[in-house]
Every structure is written in structure tokens, then in C-alpha cells.
Amino acid sequence: MFRRILIANRGEIALRVIRTAREMGIECVAVYSDVDNEALHVRMAHQAVALGGTTPAESYLDQAKILAAAKATGAEAIHPGYGFLSENAKFAQAVTDAGLAWIGPPPGAITVMGDKIESRRAMNKAGVPTVPGLEDPVDDVEQAIRDAEGIGYPIAIKAAAGGGGKGIRVVRKPDEMASAFRTASGEALSSFGDGRLYLERYLDHPRHIEIQVMFDGHGNGVHYFERECSIQRRHQKLVEEAPSSAIDEATRAAMGEVALQAGRAVGYVGAGTVEFLWEDGEFFFLEMNTRLQVEHPITEMITGVDLVREQLRVAAGEELGYGQDSLHIHGHSIEVRINAEDPINGYLPSVGTLHNLRAPGGPWVRLDTGMYRGMEVGLAYDPMLGKLIVWGRDRAQAIERMIRAIQEMNVGGVMTSLPAALTVLEHERFRSGNYDTHFLESLTLAPPTEYRQIVAAAAAMHRHLLARRRALEPQAGARAAWLERGRRVSSAVRRAADGGPA
């Protein structure tokens, strides 16, 4: 096993990897941008290397800096987390070329699966069912309108280089094509540096069901069953659960086998997720994510397998050591993503300084997060601040437990997606298990009306007490002045405000 690894990521996923590595006795090297110098992944690693810069391009995406950090610290392997360089085949190759182990699949598998069009071709060839559509990108709006006739509306326009649902637009009628094509192309270009688009049949009430797979380098592979991720908005997942209430034992086995087939077709090694759209008993390959996924914890909760541990073992050359028969689903797990956004206000991004944090606790509640008091939530990085995960003996218990956990929690300083998740969990439709990927967007979100007078009274009391405290403080100007002076004297001396955000 490795003695020391570098984690080329930040936030909760960097912490997630550090936690397992520590448990395995592996030393961790964190890297960080200037804005992350106080981050938890920096504090919980054994060593931390400053990359400098504030943007991703200057830090977590700078391959040369990361490789240099690995060399300087004697790291033997690099774990990329998700996002950033995790699905960058060139970087995977560079890591290997530098004599380090890449904790992820071979570059070739990343390349094929990272391109929507190439991956469709490969899957069709391997006999994996795909959604009806074109294998070649379309050149312009006119061609798109022509080709759409052959596939049949509704049509999904997708960025060839896209991932995680980014850059996808749905067109229901030919006259919507022009506007959608324009914005999709622009987004694809600005997000991925590649404006190529392709078309495919858009399923009208699909469920997003994905299979977690793991292959070692000795020809062995297993799947850890499915995750249902149909609660999403603009293809951004919000609530995930495992197992899915839509599929039966036979479908589960069939999807698992197809997912392994997909992985084998590209010579996969390591952890990966094969995403499917499921509708009315049929399922179609959507894409393969060639990395650990955000929602991997729910699979861990129902199987008891630490997926990061398996990643590290496989990357170090170990055999999996067990077969499909030894894996079983135990209970039910749900994950909720905590994004800095305001769901009531169109999910607008929310920025601020985190404070007044309250973590939920008690039985079968797991919190994976990089949040800490004083953390600045800006726009430079992904708005996902963490994930709340619960386990229950059955789906009903897991739902009630998640509601309870959300009710215990607080994230001050920004608005979060938690109220939206709560609304989903309390909804009859979600509870019935009969929902699809459009459910979340169909929801009207508003806090319950019965507590309006209580919270209004609380807000007024808050203002009243705040005003009273301020009146009692020494003259505000004088106070501000010595604080300011304090800042100048030492950057290490930060202020924890008495009542406001800190």
C-alpha cells in the first residue's frame, strides 16, 4: 500500500479521501489555493502545499504545480476526487509518466467515456443499450432541425465534452431549436472549451438510475448495485437514494451486468459509475463517470463497503478479493446535497461567510462536509458545501430520519438547498416512490405558512436585541478603529464578531 498520497482537490471530497487514507495509515498531502489556506482539507492533511492563485485554473487545475507538489513531498500516488482534473486523461497520463500511481481509471478509458459521441459508439459496439440519437455532432441549427425529425421530439441537445448534466438543453418543438442551440453552444464553449453538440431523444418521464462499479487491475470487477438520482434540476442532482424503488431484483442484476460490460469494453480499472435513464422498464446507457461520484456515500451505507478504500487498494495493485456474491443490499440510504443557493429564489447562487453552523447527530446520520465557521463561500468554486447522508432499515425510516436530520441542521451565512430537499422528502409523490427527473422542477417551494408569525416575531426580537447591544458598546467608531488596527498588526488576528457573522 502507498505510504503517502496527494489529494488534488478541495472541500468535502478532499476530506473524504483524507479520512479513509488516515484510517489506512497513509499520509496525506493536501494542496490549496490562496483562498483555501484555512480549509479543513489543509488542516486535516499531514502536509499541505500552497499552489497559489485563487481561480481553479491557477490552482486545482494547474497540472504542473500539482505534479511538482507530489514530487516535492514524495507522494506515491494522486487521488483527483471529482471535478477538476479527475476526468482529464492527459493529466492521468502525466501522473503515470511521472512514475506515480493514478487513483483512477486508465487514460484511455477516461478519453472514450469523456466524449459523449465516442462513448455512445463504444457502447453500441459493446451491445450496451443507448438512447436513440446521433453518433456525430451537428454543425449548425439547420442541420439540428433536420436531424431532429429522424430522432423524434423531444430532443436533448448535449455538449460533446459536457458532464454532470452541464450544457444540456431540451427542445420540444422545432421552433425552439434556434434559441436553445445558441445558448447550449455558448455554454459548451465557455464551460468546456469545446462547442460541439449532439442530439439525442429526450425521454419524457425518465428516472436517472446509475450503477457503481469497481474493477481491479487483474480482470476482476463487481458492481455495488444502483443509486437513484432522479431528484435533479437542470441535471444537477439534489436528493439521491439507494436502492431505487423503481427496479426489481431482475432489472438490478441486468443493469449491473450491463454496467460491468460497459466498463470492460473500455478496459476500466478503479471506481466508476455507469449512468442510465430508465423509463417504463427499459434502460439506456447515458454516460459513464470515470471517477468517484458525489453521491457515493449512499452506496457505502447500504453495502458497508468503503469505496475510497477500494479505490486505493486497486490503485496500489491489490486484487478486489471478493466477488459479486459477497455483496448485499442492507437497508436504505438517502443523500441530500447542501448547495449554497436559494431554492425559493430560482436556486440563485448564495454567497457569504459561514457561521452559526449546527450539525445534526444521532443514529445513522452522516455529514460529509468541508464547512467550518468563518469559511468564505464565493463563486470561484462549486457551490456544493457538503452532503447529509442517512441510513434506515427501510425507505420509510430513511426518509423520516433525513427529515429529522435536516430539521436539526443549520448553515448560517448563506441560503442552502436544504429546504428544497425537505420539501421533496415531505412530498407524497416522493414518498410513494413514483417520481421522475422532472419532479423537482415541478415543485413549488415555500416555507410553511403556519410559522410565519413566529419567525416574524423572532426577526423583530433579533433586531431589537441587536440594537440594544450596539447601544451598549463603546462608541462604534472607536471600536472599528482598534479592530482595523488589529488587522494591520497581524493577519493572523481575526475578529470573531460578537453577534454578527464571523
Binding site: 452541464k166 445558448t183 455558448g186 455554454e187 465557455s190 464551460s191 437542470r234 436559494d342 425559493i344 429564489n345 440563485l348 447562487p349 448564495s350 454567497v351 457561521h355 452559526n356 449546527r358 464565493g378 463563486l379 457551490p383 427529515i403 435536516i406 430539521q407 441542521m409 443549520n410 448560517g412 451565512g413 441560503m415 442552502t416 436544504l418 429546504p419 425537505l422 415555500a446 416555507p447 410553511p448 405558512t449 410559522y451 410565519r452 408569525q453 413566529i454 419567525v455 416574524a456 416575531a457 423572532a458 426577526a459 423583530a460 426580537m461 433579533h462 433586531r463 431589537h464 436585541l465 441587536l466 440594537a467 460578537d498 453577534g499 454578527g500 457573522p501 464571523a502
Partner: protein
């Protein structure tokens, strides 16, 4: 002191009167049996109302307060009587138009309308890119685009004025 507390769905009037060292709370004109106790001055609060206990998380300053109760967050704007009068006067003076501000930080990608053009309610005025998503910012009502305050390509902070709309004189 009387406060106007505005939240999604409407405004409540909260009156706080100190009598013999006790605070009397009235909401929408009705007395309310309400006790508010700060735990740590960092936002953890326990409130009781009619024998029920509520764990509240309260954040914010004087005019913007967020209260989270059992997983739901209520974002509120507070005005006292003087502030309310001033704001009402300001709104009246602006007519139907006024500045349109960025509700989130981002980059102005492009304007879809030129200065001087008449726009309909809901018509996209510009594209603001934030969190790697392109968002169309639309006219809140009919009017004429009176001014553009930020160049295309520029970065804006939340609250920055983007454009000013002049209301159509419908009165």
C-alpha cells in the same frame, strides 16, 4: 417599536413594547405569548410560544434577517415605521421603473436590448453568467431601457445596478 417584516407571501407587523422591564410582543395587532432567548449570541435561539418550544437559528443584521426553523429558512426584510415611510416615498418617486440590480455575483455576457428600446414584461434584457450557468435577466414590467450601467464582459457583485428601466407612463 413597530417593525414591518416582509417575507415571501406577505408582510407582518410586529410591535415590541417594553412594559415594566417585560417585552410585550404583538403580531398583526394581536398580542402573542412569545419568549425569545439567545443561547450563545452567535445565532442559536430558543423561543417558546403558547407552550411550544422552537429551536431557531437566526442570522443577519438590522434590515435583513434569516430565521431557520425545522429545516425551513425564512428570509425577511425589516423596516421600522420611519424606514418604511422613506422607502415608500422613494418607490413612489420612481414610478413603474427603476434600477435592475444583480441578485447574484457574475459576469455580464451580453445585452439583448439597446438603450432606448421599449421592452415588454418578461422580455430578456441581458445574459448574466454565474456559477457557470447562463441566466437571462428579464424585465420585471414593461418600460424603456433608460441606461446600461455595466459593460458587457464585466464582473458584477450582488446588488450592483445593471440597467435602469423607465416605467411606461400608464397613470
Amino acid at each position: 417599536m413597530k417593525y414591518f417584516v416582509e417575507m415571501v407571501g406577505g408582510t407582518h407587523e410586529v410591535e415590541l413594547v417594553e412594559r415594566l422591564g417585560e417585552l410585550i410582543v404583538k403580531v398583526d395587532g394581536e398580542p402573542m405569548n412569545f419568549d425569545y432567548h439567545e443561547i450563545d449570541l452567535l445565532g442559536q435561539v430558543v423561543a417558546t410560544h403558547d407552550g411550544q418550544s422552537y429551536a431557531l437559528s437566526v442570522e443577519g443584521g438590522k434590515s435583513k434577517v434569516r430565521v431557520t426553523l425545522a429545516g425551513h429558512t425564512y428570509a425577511m426584510e425589516l423596516e421600522d415605521e420611519r424606514e418604511r415611510a422613506a422607502h415608500l416615498a422613494e418607490r413612489a418617486a420612481r414610478g413603474g421603473g427603476g434600477p435592475i440590480k444583480a441578485v447574484m455575483p457574475g459576469i455580464v455576457v451580453e445585452y439583448l436590448v439597446e438603450v432606448g428600446a421599449e421592452v415588454a414584461e418578461g422580455q430578456p434584457l441581458l445574459i448574466l453568467e454565474a456559477m457557470k450557468m447562463q441566466n437571462e435577466i428579464s424585465a420585471p414590467g414593461p418600460g424603456i431601457l433608460a441606461a446600461i450601467h455595466v459593460e458587457a464582459g464585466a464582473t458584477v457583485a450582488a446588488g450592483d445596478k445593471l440597467v435602469t428601466l423607465k416605467g411606461l407612463e400608464t397613470e
